[in-house]
């Protein structure tokens, strides 16, 4: 405050006072303008441009904007590879989201007991968040080495060594369900994050409420089931949306873990390979738009709801 106080004299003499109402909005907008323009062009302009490409004939190195209507989308709907992608995304999403929610909630409930080493465990469960999916993918590629028997290594070897032979499996090379194994490193990476938002939610439950339930004769388990968990529903919903939209976008993890295999294909990889390896820009753009719409269906209501709540507070 002192600094602005001493500024006063020089500022007033140097610059005539503007109409305060106009300065309010106008000057603010001016500072915002570069970012607004950048986002307008790079997000919304580019989305529009992608939408335009998605209804064009463009296939090959030279742009071809001949309008073909919804042909690219229709072809996608009939494309067996895209059907695999949708199925893979569905399996991945179920394993990934449920895995994160269960582990996240479980860890949060354990940490909420008020133990001494809470900070240590919390940091430990969260550190994978700081690592790139590429690193995770490369390491887990060796952990989930599918070889068995004499050539077994990674987790399979570990299972054999400790007598858990029943768990030995072919991981991501398992026919049909391989993609579920890919969700495992994703759970490793993101369950700590789920724990963090659950823990914040648990801490927001008033202790008095639990105490009241205990006084009414509820045991610890009932307190959780009848009091705490229902109050955590909004947290679960936001975790569901954040995790769900991450799984729709999953890309680098699969690339680093398994490369470009059709068996483990997902829409984001199909878009990338068909566009930049196959030069089928029309199809690539249509996959991009399908992805965008599915993410938007999840995220827009969430944004709307969160911002409205905030405005009401």
């Amino acid at each position: 405050m002192q600094a602005t106080g001493t500024e006063r004299g020089t500022r007033l003499s140097r610059k005539p006072r503007l109409n305060p109402v106009r300065m309010k909005g106008g000057a603010g907008l001016l500072l915002l303008l570069p970012s607004i323009l950048a986002v307008l062009v790079f997000v919304y302009g580019f989305i529009g441009w992608t939408a335009r490409v998605s209804v064009s004939k463009w296939k090959g190195l030279l742009p071809d904007y001949t309008f073909v209507g919804l042909d690219n989308y229709k072809n996608l709907a009939a494309d067996p590879r895209f059907a695999i992608d949708v199925r893979n995304t569905a399996i991945f999403t179920v394993v990934f989201v449920l895995g994160c929610l269960f582990i996240g909630l479980g860890l949060a409930m354990l940490l909420d007991k008020g133990i001494r080493a809470e900070g240590f465990y919390r940091s430990l469960f969260l550190f994978p968040m700081a690592i790139s999916f590429i690193v995770t993918g490369v390491v887990w590629r060796w952990l989930m080495n599918p070889a068995v028997g004499d050539r077994a290594s990674g987790l399979n070897l570990l299972f054999e060594n400790v007598g858990l032979d029943a768990l030995v499996n072919r991981w991501h090379t398992t026919p049909t369900w391989g993609i579920a194994a890919v969700a495992l490193p994703a759970v490793w990476q993101m369950s700590g994050y789920t724990m963090a938002i659950y823990l914040a939610g648990l801490r927001a439950v008033p202790e008095g409420l639990r105490e009241a339930a205990r006084v009414d004769g509820a045991d610890e388990w009932q307190v959780y089931r009848r009091v705490v968990l229902p109050l955590l529903r909004p947290v679960t919903l936001s975790a569901l949306i954040i995790l769900g939209h991450i799984s729709l976008k999953v890309f680098d993890l699969i690339i680093a873990l398994a490369g470009k295999q059709v068996a483990l294909d997902v829409p984001s990889i199909y878009m990338w390979t068909t566009t930049f390896d196959g030069y089928f820009f029309g199809r690539g753009a249509s996959i991009g738009i399908v992805l965008l719409v599915s993410v938007a269906v999840l995220v827009i209501p969430y944004l709307w709801y969160t911002l409205r709540n905030e405005a009401e507070q």
Binding site: G25, F42, Y121, L143
Partner: protein, 272 residues
């Protein structure tokens, strides 16, 4: 009611989960410190008989230029997008203007989009302005697509600063820029740390933008690591050491500035 002793069982599941989270780190380091002679997939879980740096030296030889590229991409990207975010956050939190209620959600949505939906125009645009291949196209992409989250971090913070402070500055004759520079910015240092390390981490860990916007002279470490892992020439043990090296900068940031990292993460899910 419940004393610490009756809660001791909690450490059992917690420690088991801790082991699960540490397995990949263990494998990276355990393998990294073995000598070339000792490395074998069959003895992956055995401890090294003596400490050797063979793998790290080999990984460093393969990745050093890319680690340096990452630094040169990430530092300007994080700095510029944080600076822009602080301006936007300040304006959105403190200066009312028509349309602010539309601008903010539109900005935020940009944080969630799958980048596949803008990839074709982005590459085309960067080609047209001659920025494909080198680092600057990638820096610009990180800056622009980082604006939503940095804006959100600063807006949330500035919204907690009492309006009277801004009012006093204005009565003292400070314009919008002066108020930002002399009053708000010094208060916002913690938010700068949050925004900077969040942007540092996401740009360092990015793969998609880098793989379409840079060529092999400008590849950041993620792209180089992925190529190294996909090649038949580089042994798996070197890949482990290389993975560890690629992870070290963001891990160090997490270890030393974890508190701020968490705040960025919470902001990213609109939970602050």
């Amino acid at each position: 009611m419940t004393d610490r002793n009756s809660r001791a069982w909690v450490y059992i599941p917690l420690s088991m989960m801790a082991l699960f989270y540490l397995v990949p780190m263990f494998v990276m380091l355990n393998t990294g410190f073995k000598s070339f002679d000792e490395v074998s997939l069959r003895t992956m879980w055995d401890l090294p008989s003596s400490i050797s740096f063979d793998n790290f030296v080999a990984a460093w030889d393969a990745l050093a230029p890319n680690l340096w590229n990452s630094v040169r991409i990430v530092v300007p990207a994080a700095t510029i997008s944080s600076a822009l975010g602080s301006l936007n956050g300040y304006v959105l939190a403190r200066w009312r203007f028509r349309g602010a209620n539309i601008v903010f959600p539109l900005l935020l949505f940009g944080m969630f989009i799958p980048y596949q939906a803008i990839l074709i125009p982005l590459v085309d645009f960067m080609k047209n302005v001659g920025l494909v291949g080198g680092m600057w196209g990638l820096v610009i992409a990180h800056v622009v697509y980082g604006i939503p989250i940095t804006t959100l971090i600063f807006r949330n913070y500035f919204a907690t600063i009492p309006a009277s402070l801004v009012e006093v500055a204005r009565i003292d004759g400070a314009g919008i820029w002066q108020t930002y520079w002399r009053v708000m910015l010094p208060l916002a240092i913690p938010s700068f740390v949050v925004a900077l390390i969040w942007q540092f981490t996401s740009a360092w860990n990015d793969f998609l933008f880098a793989v379409v916007l840079t060529d092999n002279t400008a590849w950041p470490v993620t792209v180089a690591l992925n190529n190294l892992a996909g090649s038949q020439i580089i042994e798996w043990n070197v890949q482990m050491a290389a993975s560890f090296m690629a992870a070290i900068p963001t891990l160090l940031v997490y270890i030393f500035l974890g508190r701020y990292f968490l705040r960025g993460m919470m902001a990213g899910s609109l939970k602050e």
